[in-house]
Symmetry: C2
Subunit: 581 residues, 2 copies
């Protein structure tokens, strides 16, 4: 990147950076992208609000101020911020535990959640704690997104069936729907099923169909994106024309015609405490999703994003949502890709989208009065099923059982015990499996490849060995989890091989020796000394050596430190006794 | 070791191994050791029972059956099993939460704790889960033992002062003692302070004193070990002769004259649930302490212990304690060293000690009727103060701030919030610090040392570089915690250096690539491909390569895999474009 981030204002507000070179061409590209994204966002915003259990306008409001704030503080030039499926699900799960859906308390809880989440993101950004997001491993995220997709799609079935059923886990949702099956509204089912089938066809079959009819690729693309709008208009008109609302079809109803209102989150200590953990979870998941989208898009134009600044951008967006009637938001994959493909050049495209949505909020909301909830549910189902990717199970199984275990645990526990338990279990499983893997490091006995200075595993290669010299290559950093393993290993190897007079530890792959490992090495050294066996180290890396020098190990070592394994071999295998003195 | 563990009976009961070669010389050595250890154990067992809040005989009973069972199942030839200070403290803390001291429920809770702990240890042994103990890093153990020593010594002050005061944390204990200062019994203080001073002098000053008087070293040693017995006899006689019990000096009182009784632990679900976590904690801490003692002693005779079999030995000992009126036990440092120094050759020495203690339990208990509790408290204080080692703070500070943090957190939290919170916080701190350290791995840009095949950090050495080829040596295994770090690093380096046409990752110190890191590498590969930059790997280890071959990365790699970094350099730096194809 050509910018130099010196002025603090430019450091925290990248808008002062790209804003200086903004020109007419960028403006017109941004405008075109904004129009396309606005049209796509209207039904999507209404639908995600429904998923979060909030009134439909909350989805629109959550797309206005957050977009503008992200444009000011964010570093990605194409990321589109707003309500997304997974965060909406997490929101419903979190605030469903503190308030009843449809009450004023529920909406305030949503604002509070956005406030906490925004505050947490900003703090993480200021203290540069973005690396914390790395504790969510890729398999855990993949498993979580897949399970969330299944949960979301299932939770929308009630709108398609026209019954009321609540639940936050797969068994709960299915049981609740099962218990209300006698209340199914068949007109709603017909609308919902038709809309779902239509949207699936638009997604999979429309483009080839139009192309066969001779339409240009661009035309076909635009038609595909307009699919949800067609479904919305079609079903709304049908409900209005045949007075289906009178037949029990649930509709969106009155949506206030207004710009985003000024709102205040709740500041009661109980509420803040109850929502803190979910807010942290939402922040981290939202951040991870957003950063990976932003990074992918930035790479395509050889641009960079700054993850710590992204935290501030997303945090500002969430704080904005908290004070303007929204709920937690993040950078969404679908909308960002559309924005990018439509040619957005700068975050100004986002600002123009916000203006488009504001106009819609003021003037278009009466048009969705007759829009059936079933259509919105169909939009959600079609969107989230693309998140469900069970192939991650197959891929991780082939690559590593540990990663497979983490994915499987995350999916199963998210579906059966809910999103929060699922993610927590996934993170804990990943950490424990990592510690387990490093707790039994690969240690190879090595010998010299004849005529060379290379040392290789004696089990895999024909190499020179000496029964008096035991050379072990340690293929792992040494720290508390595996310190005792090495201690036991050396002790048992030396006791088995009675003629051993020297042990050489080859440290080429040892990147760290922590205090536990240091004490283990000291214990090994003392025990080997008692047995009259020398302990030597070879190929110790600079940073590791710097640290070892601060301990007593080097002074007390019953042997030498060799720069290369070959030095060790030449010295010890030729004149072993002399070297130990 | 010369034994071959083939028969299952010999695998699980090492007694069939050493028992076959047992002879007269071993017998007489074991007998001598047993007599010395028995004399030392009588006051110690009474004292630790007092520390655990149990009647004095519980300490003796806990030293009989467990010793015999460990002799049958354990692998260390010198380890002496019985009540120890830290485990007694943990026992008091755990069962104090479910029952009132002095009640029948309290004793049953102690049996139940021993039962759960024994069961857990046996299960860990059968499933070979001994490595779990490694999660307790050396700094955490050192901090915990030191803090426990301080807590134990402070908790015994009440016996020296003759007041009643309960508490499980340092502030609690000090406040409780402060609140009862007006009740101090001055005769008790004189007995306690004299006994403490005498025992300190025996420990530090007696041996040089006797040596100056012309005594042999062996005589001086035996006299030192007999110190507690002298203190016990002296203060008991003083209390009896001057009827000090009538003056308010608390005494041991009646101890039943009996062999260990048959007892049953409690099996109520509530009790089991309440004690499960403390039992696991006690098991792991006891195991760690015991194994390190056993390993140190074994190394001195070039013997081996088997940690998984040790779990079974200690588990059997605890199950034995549960059914014979005892409480949780483990291998103690002091008694094991005495046993070893006294010449114990086989676990039979332990069995003879058990016989000695059984005789004491049947015949000698009336003799301790007038023994003041203050003397027992003095024994404990002098014993545990040798556990307190604050130098660990200084040592870890010098070696590594991360290890220092773990020690300091463990000490402070154990003292202020109690033993369980302290250990848990220590473990969590160690794990998080380890993850943090590996989350920002050392990545060095390397160049070739002129005229050689060695590659070194360009910041530390004068090396050959090529602006078109970026060579990065990754000094850490790649896994989810640091996957994104490398992703960001490569992306920003390539964008800074516009002329870069090739990135070579040198994997000589990469011991693992997990699925998250694989996906990051795939993302890096795809992004570099978009930028028309090649991605190459060099010096990939066998096990890592085996795994990468199971993924698509190798097939899709926009570059090559080189056996050595030098091959990569020769190929790319000379004909860079040709190589990318």
């Amino acid at each position: 990147m050509d910018r130099t981030m010196t002025h603090p204002l430019r450091r925290y507000m990248p808008v002062f950076d790209w804003g200086r070179t903004y020109d007419r061409k960028a403006f017109s590209n941004d405008m075109i992208a904004a129009v396309i994204v606005t049209i796509m966002l209207i039904p999507q915003s209404l639908a995600y609000a429904l998923l979060a259990g909030l009134p439909p306008e909350a989805g629109i409001y959550a797309s206005i101020a957050p977009i503008v704030l992200y444009a000011l503080f964010g570093t990605s030039r194409a990321l589109a911020v707003g309500p997304v499926a997974v965060v909406s699900l997490l929101t419903a799960s979190a605030i469903g535990q503190v308030a009843e859906q449809g009450t004023a308390g529920y909406a305030i809880a949503a604002l509070t959640l956005a406030f906490l989440s925004g505050g947490f993101l900003v703090l993480m950004g200021v203290f540069r704690l973005g690396f914390l997001a790395n504790f969510l491993s890729h398999p855990v995220i993949a498993g979580f997104i897949t399970a969330s997709g299944i949960l979301i799609a299932t939770s929308q079935l009630k709108h398609i069936l026209g019954v009321s059923a609540h639940g936050h886990t797969l068994p709960e949702i299915l049981l609740a729907i099962g218990a209300h099956l006698n209340e199914v509204n068949w007109i709603t089912v017909i609308i919902g099923a038709t809309a779902t089938a239509f949207l699936f066809w638009v997604r999979k079959g429309l483009k080839p169909f139009l192309t066969r009819l001779g339409a240009s690729a661009t035309m076909a693309d635009i038609a595909t994106k307009a699919g949800p709008v067609v479904a919305v208009v079609g079903t709304t008109v049908a409900v209005w024309a045949f007075d289906l609302a009178g037949q029990g079809v649930k509709i969106v109803g009155e949506v206030p015609q207004s710009l985003p209102p000024l709102t205040l989150p709740g500041f009661s200590l109980d509420l803040l405490q109850a929502l803190l953990v979910p807010a942290i979870l939402i922040s981290i998941i939202g951040f991870v999703e957003s950063v990976s989208v932003a990074q992918t898009l930035a790479a395509k134009k050889r641009q960079c994003i700054n993850p710590d600044q992204e935290l501030i951008g997303l945090g500002a967006a969430n704080l904005g949502a908290a004070f303007t009637g929204g709920y937690p938001v993040t950078g969404g994959f679908a909308r960002s890709v559309v924005n990018f493909d439509a040619g957005a050049e700068t975050p100004a495209a986002g600002a123009f989208t916000a203006i488009g949505l504001a106009i819609a909020a003021v003037s278009l909301t009466p048009l969705v009065f007759f829009l059936p909830n079933a259509t919105l549910a169909a939009t959600i189902i079609v969107a989230v099923l693309s998140l469900v990717d069970l192939s991650i199970l197959k891929k991780t199984w082939a690559y590593s059982r540990a990663d497979f275990t983490a994915v499987a645990a995350t999916i199963v526990l998210t579906l059966t015990l809910g999103v929060e338990v699922g993610v927590a279990a996934g993170v804990i499983t990943s950490v424990l499996l990592h510690l387990y893997k490093t707790s039994r490091p690969h240690v190879a006995e090595v010998g010299r490849v004849p005529g060379s200075e290379h040392f290789r595993n004696i089990l895999r290669h024909e190499v020179e060995t000496d029964p008096r010299v035991l050379c072990l290559r340690v293929d792992e950093s040494l720290y508390f989890v595996n310190a005792r393993f090495l201690e036991d290993l050396i002790q048992s190897r030396v006791i088995e091989g009675c003629s051993i007079a020297h042990v050489v530890l080859m440290f080429s792959a040892v990147n760290e020796v922590d205090y536990s490992a240091l004490e283990s090495l000291e214990a090994v050294n003392a025990r080997l000394k008692d047995m009259d066996v020398g302990l030597h180290l070879s190929e110790v890396k600079g940073p590791v050596m710097d640290r070892l020098k601060r301990s007593h190990l080097i002074d007390d070592l019953n042997g030498q430190i060799f720069l290369s394994q070959n030095d060790a071999w030449t010295t010890l295998a030729d004149h072993p006794r002399a070297a130990a003195e």
